[in-house]
């Protein structure tokens, strides 16, 4: 369980990093927190021959609000997302979701952007990005900066629309107003494990009516799954517990989940039924 050999580069600026990446994009891999990449390298499931370590590149960490958008710099560690003091439903969702990401010694190294760029369908940050239609800011040496919508960013298992010569530098999320209720419910076999199924929910409830509903599910598809069926059931209706159950049923009918050692497709559908209402309830301050 020792990695294959590789060339190691440690750029000190974003320009330098992008230049190094551009020289041989096919053989290179960007190293941020490394909490997914290094285990894969130890198992030799990944054997990149060039690693570009962006941990010393300045200005890639931190969270800042500008207008109604929150910008999370890509290398912000999970632990710092967990410790964010942003008021309101978005800050709460980020704190709660971070509590499900691995364990303390993983959170001190692993990064928000790295997790999104890795595109594991079970990842909490991929769920949140899909849920809130995050915008990914990516940069390359030759083409400069561009912005990708979450719906276009996540392509398939471990695959995004990030080009090989691009680096994800930031993710922006809408700051949700006080009428929003956000929640997350995850079912994992052990504390800190990836969820078998994760439900993240954001409902804008205005005077008892669901003005807007966003439902994202992890573990049921090769990328984070926005459940249109559940959102349709909820939108425009008076908010009741029964409505949420109906939405969960709709979502469970809509998904076509994979099977593995932790459960088959039917089990994952059952988890969708169980977890979606729990996610909503967790946002309402109940469990």
């Amino acid at each position: 369980m020792k990695p294959s050999p590789f060339e190691y580069h440690r750029p000190e600026s974003l320009e330098e990093a992008l230049g190094m990446l551009a020289r041989d994009p096919d053989e290179s891999k960007v190293l941020a927190g490394g909490q997914s990449l290094v285990p894969m390298m130890n198992f030799r499931l990944a054997s990149p021959t060039r690693l570009i370590d962006i941990n010393r590149v300045p200005d890639l960490e931190g969270m800042s609000v500008s207008g109604d958008r929150l910008r999370v710099a890509a290398r912000t560690r999970h632990i710092d997302v967990q410790r964010n003091e942003l008021p309101g439903p978005l800050g709460e969702l980020l704190r709660e979701a971070a509590g499900h990401v691995g364990h303390l010694p993983i959170r001190t190294r692993g990064t928000f952007g790295g997790s999104i760029a890795h595109c594991d369908a079970a990842s909490e940050w991929c769920q949140v990005a899909a849920l809130l239609d995050a915008e990914m800011t990516v940069v390359s040496a030759s083409r400069g900066e561009r912005t990708i919508q979450a719906a276009d960013f996540f392509q398939s298992i471990f695959t995004t629309s990030l080009e090989l010569d691009e680096i994800l530098v930031a993710v922006t999320l809408p700051v949700l107003g006080e009428t929003w209720v956000t929640g997350i419910a995850e079912f994992a076999r052990r504390a800190g494990d990836f969820g078998i199924v994760t439900a993240t929910t954001a409902l804008n409830i205005v005077e008892g009516v669901v003005a807007e509903a966003r439902i994202s599910l992890g573990g049921v598809h090769e990328i984070p799954f926005r459940s249109e069926a559940a959102e349709t059931v909820l939108a425009g209706q008076a908010f009741t517990p029964e409505l949420v159950v109906a939405a969960a049923e709709a979502a469970a009918d809509e998904v076509d989940p994979p099977s593995d050692v932790h459960g088959d497709a039917d089990y994952r559908r059952d988890l969708v039924r169980a977890l979606l209402p729990r996610a909503v309830r967790s946002g309402m301050g109940a469990t």
Binding site: M1, K2, P3, S4, P5, F6, E7, Y8, R10, L31, G34, Q35, V38, P39, M41, N42, F43, L51, D53, N55, I79, H103, L104, P105, I106, T108, R109, R190, A191, G192
Partner: protein, 169 residues
């Protein structure tokens, strides 16, 4: 192909020359001779290799040594002040029978030390959540929890911090 590397481990400076693929855990063990950091899985789950890098607990098997260039690393060997005295966390493990085979112990000791130094008023629930980072196959964890709580009391008594019972939930 090797890369020069400077590490500060337990206060000592190490000037090494390592392959980039060498993990921090292997560099500590094979290049620094500090074999108290153990490898139980090499994929970040078991936590036996947990060390403190610039004060933060990390999995030393999931970090390349070259990434720690210039950093301060604290391993189990650096916890006790001297050969005759144990660190409060070590003393508590001893007093509470918190280890059997001892293989997971260094990872628990560094994890608990790092966490309690930053969070002296953590309550039992928070401590359990943090301790769920690491695996132990012998003890059933009960005595590890007891040891961690005892260590917290000692450390707080020494530093005059608020007792855990008054910590916010």
């Amino acid at each position: 192909m090797t890369t020069p590397l400077r590490l500060y481990v337990n206060g000592d400076r190490y000037d090494l020359d390592v392959e980039p693929r060498r993990t921090l855990a292997d560099a500590l063990r094979d290049d620094c001779g500090l074999t108290g950091t153990h490898l139980g899985c090499e994929h970040g789950v078991c936590g036996a290799c947990t060390v403190l890098v610039d004060g933060q607990p990390v999995r030393a098997c999931l970090m390349f040594a070259v990434q720690a260039e210039g950093s301060s690393v604290r391993t189990v060997e650096g916890l006790a002040p001297d050969d005759d005295t144990l660190h409060p966390v070590q003393q508590a493990f001893w007093d509470n029978h918190g280890l059997q085979c001892g293989f997971c112990t260094p990872g628990f000791l560094t994890l608990i030390t790092g966490y309690l130094e930053e969070n002296p008023t953590a309550n039992e629930e928070e401590l359990r959540d943090v301790l769920s980072s690491n695996l132990c196959r012998c003890t059933g964890y009960q005595n590890i929890i007891k040891a961690a709580l005892a260590a917290q009391r000692t450390m707080n008594a020494e530093s005059g911090a608020e007792p855990a019972e008054q910590a916010p939930a």
